[in-house]
Point group: C2
Chain length 330, copies 2
Amino acid sequence: MQSITIKDVAREAGVSTATVSRVLNRNGYVSHEVRQQVLAVVKRLNYQPNALARSLKQERTRTVGMVLPDMTNPYFMAVARTIQRRLLAHGYRLFYMDCDEDAEREREAIRVLQEMRTEAVILAGTGGNADAVARMIEAGRTVVLIDRTIDGIRADAVTDDNAGAADEAAAYLLGKYGPRFGIITGPRSTSTSRERAAGVKRALERAGCPSDPALWYEGDYTRRAGMEAGHYFLGMNEPPLAVFSFNNEMTYGFYLAMKQRGLPLDALEVVSFGELDAAPLFENRLSVIRQHPDQIGEAAADIVVSRLEGGAEGEPVQRVIMPALETASR
Amino acid sequence: MQSITIKDVAREAGVSTATVSRVLNRNGYVSHEVRQQVLAVVKRLNYQPNALARSLKQERTRTVGMVLPDMTNPYFMAVARTIQRRLLAHGYRLFYMDCDEDAEREREAIRVLQEMRTEAVILAGTGGNADAVARMIEAGRTVVLIDRTIDGIRADAVTDDNAGAADEAAAYLLGKYGPRFGIITGPRSTSTSRERAAGVKRALERAGCPSDPALWYEGDYTRRAGMEAGHYFLGMNEPPLAVFSFNNEMTYGFYLAMKQRGLPLDALEVVSFGELDAAPLFENRLSVIRQHPDQIGEAAADIVVSRLEGGAEGEPVQRVIMPALETASR
DNA sequence: TGTGAATGTGTAAACGTTAACCTACAGGCG
DNA sequence: CGCCTGTAGGTTAACGTTTACACATTCACA
C-alpha cells in the first residue's frame, strides 16, 4: 500500500534525504562509500521514487500526451509507435488517449492531459474542439497537430499534402476511366476530407469535367461507412467504373460490400488513401496513396522535442509530408 | 508555461484556497453566491487543477497502467479498448505502454507505472520479468495478468482456456486429416504458447498418434515468423495437410507465404487462434478460435475495480474465458 | 599562514493541492 | 437564556520530492 519514501531510505542509510536525492539523481557531491551504502538500501527496500512529488517540485513531467481518434486503425498506431520510440530516446514518455472519433471524449482527454501537466499534446483532432485547443495554446502549452488541422488554429502541424495527392489520384482516374468514378469522402468536420475533396474537384475542373453529386458519398472514415458506400455505388443503374476512397478503413468496407454482392474484388479499380493490410492476400486492382506514417511520426516527435528543449517560442512550424500514389499493376 | 494555481483563483475571487477547493470538489459547505463567484473566476482564468499535487496529497491517482506486448495487434487493442471504456465509467484513466514483445522495455514500463503511482497494473507479459512483477505484488500493488500468466506468480489473472481450445482444435484436425498437420507455435517464454502446445499434445496422445517434431515450427507471434513457417512447411517433400497457427499475426504471415509460392489460399485448411480481419476478403479454408477480447477486457476491468473499491485483500482471482472454435465452412 | 576552490553533507523551504481543525454566526428548542 | 446543530469559510499542516543555502573539511598555492 503506502510506499517506501526517500525518508525511509535516508533513515535506514543514516544520511539525509538530500543525500539520497543526490545519489539518485547523480548531481552534487557524494562520497563513494555513502553512494554505495545508499544504493544498497534502495535496492534492499525496493524503493521507487514518487514521480508525482518529483514532477510537482521540478515542474517538469517529461511526459507528452497524444489524443487519437481511433486506436484500432493501424495507420494511427504506426504514427503513434514511431512517436513513442522517438520521444523515449529523448527521455519523454508518451501517454495515449483514444477518443473514438468522439468530440466529447476528445475534450475530456485534452482536459486530463492538461491536468496531468503533460509538457506537450499531440493531437489528431476530430475538429470539434477548436476552443479547447485554442485555450491550450493560449496558455502557452506546446501543441502539435498531426494528420488533421483545425480551422482557425495556428499551431505546429504535420500533415499530408492531401489536396495534391487527391488531385494526382483523381487525374490518374480521369485519364484512365474518364469522370465516372465514385468518391467516398470522410466527414466534413475533418480537414483531411475537405482537402482531399478539394483536390479531386481541382482535377475535375482542370479537365473541364463537371462534378456529378451522385458520385460523391460522404462517409465517416469507418468500415461501416465504406460498406454502405459500396452498396450505394454498386447498386446504381450505371455503377462507377472506379472508386476513390479517402481512407483505409472505408476501402476495407467497400471491398466487403463487393464481396457481399458476389462481385470479384478485381471487378473495378479502387484508389485508397492509406494502405490495406489485407491487400496482398486477395485479387484486386487497388492503388494506394502511401501516407508514410513514420515520416509523420518522426516529424511530430522532432517538433515536440525541439519545442521542449530549445526555445518554446517561434512561429508555428508546418511540415507537409508528400504521399506517394502507387498505382495497381493492372 | 507556469500555470494558474488555486491561489490565483482564491486571490481573484477574494476567498481562501480551501473554499476554492471545496467548490471544485463539491464537498463541505459553500454559499451559492461564493460558489458562482469562484466558478466564474475559474472559467475566466481557465484554471486547470494540478493533478500531480492533488494525487500527491490524496495518495490516489485514479489511474491504471497497462503493459502490452504489441499495440499493432488488433486483438490486444480490442482488449485494451474494452478495458479503457469500463474503467472510464468508474472514474479511472488507463495509461497504455507498448513494450514491443521486449522484456527490457517491459521492465522499464513497469518501473514507470510504479513511479507514477498507478493504482493497478494490467499486464500481458512477455514472461521475462517475473522478479519485477513479484516485487510489485509483494509491495501490495494490484496486478492483473491478462492473456498470459507468468511462471511462479500468484496474481489475479484473466486467461483463455488455451489447452482446452488447442486440444479441441487439434482433435478436429486429427479427425479430418489425421496427424499430418503442421503447428506454428509462439515463443516458449509465453504461457499461452506452452499451454496451447500442451493441448495439442494431449489430443495427439489421446488418439495414440506420436508427435512428429518436423511438424512443429516455433515462431514468435510475429507476421514474419508465420511467413517463415509457411515457407518451411510448404517446402517440405510431403507438406502437411493442414496447419494450426497459434496466433492471428502468424496466420497472416502463413497466408503471405502461400501467396508468394503461388498456391491458392484455399489449398489447405488453417486453424488459427484469434481472428483475421482480412479473412472475409479472400478464398480460404480458415477455422478460427475466437478469443472474445471484450470478455477478457470486461473481466480484467471488473477485477481491477473490485480490488480498488472493495477490499484489496483476498485470494487471487482466476477467470478463464472459453474460446470458441468456428470451423471453416468447407 | 592565510585564502580560495573543491568536495561532502545537512537543513529547510518550496511545489499545488486537500482536509483536519478552528472560528463564527444563525436559528430552533428546552 | 443557554446549548446544540447546521452552515460558511479561514488557517495550516501535511503529501514526497528537489534544491538553494549553509557549514565543514581538505588541499593547493601564494
